[in-house]
């Protein structure tokens, strides 16, 4: 290749990254790692998407779910999903999201059934994860939906009925918009002098007094 031609190619590559990409040789294959078998993948592939992709075969009724819930869930989440002690609350809270005291639950906040089903499938009951059978998962999810008045007492959850469930807060979310809604925070010349009127202390952490007792010496040494 003559010098002028190679220079030309270089300029072209710099000027047009897309083209440079096309010319690139395929990524190096190191020959490290084995092909994963369908059986291996199936044992771990437990995720479920809002559109139902990933759902296992099976079904479960609200009625079956109630029994399971009482046995396996109620000790922490409360008989009606109201929470026993300080464990997460699973029901109620409707209409509170815009209030001073929002209560986020499956009924008030979760956008999709899959967010419940997928989570229970991988993480619940807390401390005995991945112990529920597929039919039990459908049943207990149906019951949690029923506790939230999202499905009626006769409902049976399955792949077929999946799309009938309408979560109340499904339109409650929007994409991160900080770069537009908080544009004012991009300010290359922040104020340095006399930026505000004299400052008053309006709140004290020591007065609220919720900090754990630790062994750090908090007293100053100055008289």
């Amino acid at each position: 290749m003559s010098r002028s031609v190679s220079l030309f190619v270089m300029v072209l590559m710099l000027a047009s990254p897309a083209l440079a990409q096309d010319k690139k040789s395929p990524p190096r294959q190191y020959g490290i790692g084995q092909v994963a078998t369908p059986e291996q993948i199936a044992g771990w592939d437990i995720d479920v998407r809002p559109d139902g992709l990933g759902l296992p075969p099976g079904k479960g009724s609200v009625k079956d779910g109630e029994k399971l819930y009482v046995e396996r869930c109620a000790a922490c989440h409360g008989e009606f999903g109201e929470s026993a002690g300080r464990w997460p609350q699973l029901a109620q809270g409707k209409g509170t999201l815009a209030s001073h005291d929002p209560v986020k639950t499956v009924g008030s906040y979760f956008p999709y059934v899959s967010s419940v089903f997928d989570y229970v499938r991988r993480a619940m009951p807390f401390g005995d994860a991945q112990s529920l059978k597929d039919n039990e998962l459908y049943a207990v999810t149906a019951y949690v939906l029923n506790l939230n008045d999202i499905v009626d007492d006769k409902f049976v959850l399955s792949k077929e009925t999946w799309s009938q469930v309408k979560m109340p807060n499904r339109d409650g979310f929007y994409d991160d918009d900080r770069e537009t809604s908080e544009k004012a925070f991009w300010n290359s010349k922040p104020c340095m002098k006399d930026c505000r009127p004299p400052v008053k202390i309006t709140g004290h952490a020591a007065v609220i007094d919720v900090t754990p007792e630790d062994k750090t010496p908090r007293k100053g040494g100055v008289d």
Partner: protein, 420 residues
């Protein structure tokens, strides 16, 4: 009260009694010192042999530093298996967090994984689904990168006003270590992502199976599969043997004990990105996929757990970081944000990494309202808490990067306060 503190107290009493003839405790240094070790006396450790080599095969900090530890706030959560402990930022300097002090956030306790039984599966919209052992991952080309990791809920208890009195508790859900591992891009290239692939599901192998959706573009940009922190293998609390590194993004997506990556064409909307890690605004709607951690800073000393002991010259020390790139400047105010001066950045200034800043000042006992304000290379300036609240209200839990105020009192005591 601890043994060493008790010791310190008795020795102080002894000192005060025995040294009555001396001008003042201050003349010889610390009031807690034991005079038999001070000149002109010769200390014990100058006369006798100490422990030999390999008596401490894995070294540990001096016994006098035993209160430099992670701490939790027990009323925050129902169980320690799904909870958080905080980095003692007030006791640290520079930018690197020692491995044993990195804050913890688990959802089902610490998984203890035998490295021989570790597997990572990559599947979904790929040409060739693959399974890797830990040895496989260690055989691949590797890189070293220093990044901060901040939990999106760091400072989350402070939305409604000053609550927790100590920067360990207000800001301690952050750590900075050097990771060693494989670029995620290289791993994905081994499997071959199909053109329809746009999102990855990343999943942990612990008993919460924590799963998040990660945009493919970020995965190909700067993510890593890490197996080392600060040179040694990851700590179990940090995901031993393998965790995901997602520079500049909220800690929850840095999945620990990583066992599976699935390539898909849309996000999964798992519980951790719907019920949690969404930011509820005042109107009841919530922002989703707020991955990036905005620029933020905090003065680590003085701070409530690090009161001032002397009048006169003071070094004000703190940390600043931004998930959008490099920190370019940090300003410090002594009067609650009326007037600012530029602090000095010291040590490395790296992309999506903590930087250490210092400001030096004379203090004569007058009240100070200490604040710091970080700026990054995108021009973002850390906002005041009130400016944040004007846009977001007080219900969002996550992403509180507002300016922190510490009140320094005449006694040298420091308190977390809210200013208006």
């Amino acid at each position: 009260m601890t043994d060493s503190n008790d010791e310190a107290r008795t020795s102080r009493r002894r000192f005060l009694a025995g040294a009555a003839g001396l001008a003042a405790a201050g003349a010889t240094g610390s009031a807690l010192a034991n005079d038999k070790n001070l000149p002109p006396n010769v200390a014990d450790w100058s006369k006798h042999l100490g422990e030999g080599v390999a008596v401490r095969p894995y070294g540990h900090p001096s016994k006098f530093e035993k209160d430099v530890i992670r701490r939790d706030v027990q009323w925050l959560t129902a169980s320690r298996e799904s909870s958080v402990s905080f980095t003692p930022l007030h006791e640290l300097d520079g930018i690197i967090t020692p491995n044993g002090l990195c804050f913890e956030r688990h959802h089902a306790g610490i998984a203890e994984i035998d490295p021989n039984d570790y597997r990572l599966i990559i599947h979904g919209l790929v040409d060739k689904p693959l399974i890797f052992t830990l040895d496989d991952l260690k055989r691949l080309p590797r890189v070293n990168r220093i990044y901060f990791l901040e939990c999106a809920a760091n400072t989350g208890m402070e939305w409604r006003g000053a609550q927790l009195n100590g920067c360990q508790y207000t800001h301690g859900m952050i750590h900075t270590v050097q990771y060693t591992g494989v670029p995620l891009k290289l791993l994905l290239e081994q499997a071959g992502v199909k053109p329809a692939g746009k999102w990855l599901l990343v999943e942990g192998g612990d008993a919460s199976g924590l799963n998040r959706s990660l945009p493919l573009a970020k995965a190909l940009d700067d993510c890593m599969i890490a197996y080392r922190q600060n040179g040694e293998m990851l700590r179990p609390e940090q995901g031993y043997p393998v965790r995901l590194v997602v520079p500049g993004w909220q800690g929850n997506i840095w999945v620990k004990w990583l066992r599976r990556i699935e390539v898909g064409d849309q996000p999964w909307y798992s519980r951790e990105e719907t019920s949690k890690y969404t930011d509820l605004m005042e109107n009841g709607k919530a922002r989703k996929f707020t991955f990036v951690m905005d620029a933020k800073s905090v003065i680590t000393s003085p701070s409530p757990q690090m009161p001032v002991k002397h009048k006169g010259f003071q070094v004000i020390s703190g940390l600043a970081w931004s998930g959008r790139g490099k920190v370019t400047r940090v300003d410090v105010s002594l009067d609650g944000g009326r007037n600012w001066r530029a602090a000095r950045l010291d040590g490395p200034v790296l992309d999506k990494c903590c930087v250490r800043f210092y400001a030096e000042a004379e203090w004569n006992g007058e009240p100070w309202l200490l604040q710091s304000r970080a700026m990054d290379e995108t021009g973002y300036v850390q906002p005041s808490k009130d400016d944040l609240r004007k846009i977001r209200g007080v219900n969002s839990i996550y992403h509180n990067n507002g300016i922190q105020t510490w009140a320094l009192k005449a006694s040298g005591e420091v308190e977390n306060v809210e200013v208006g």
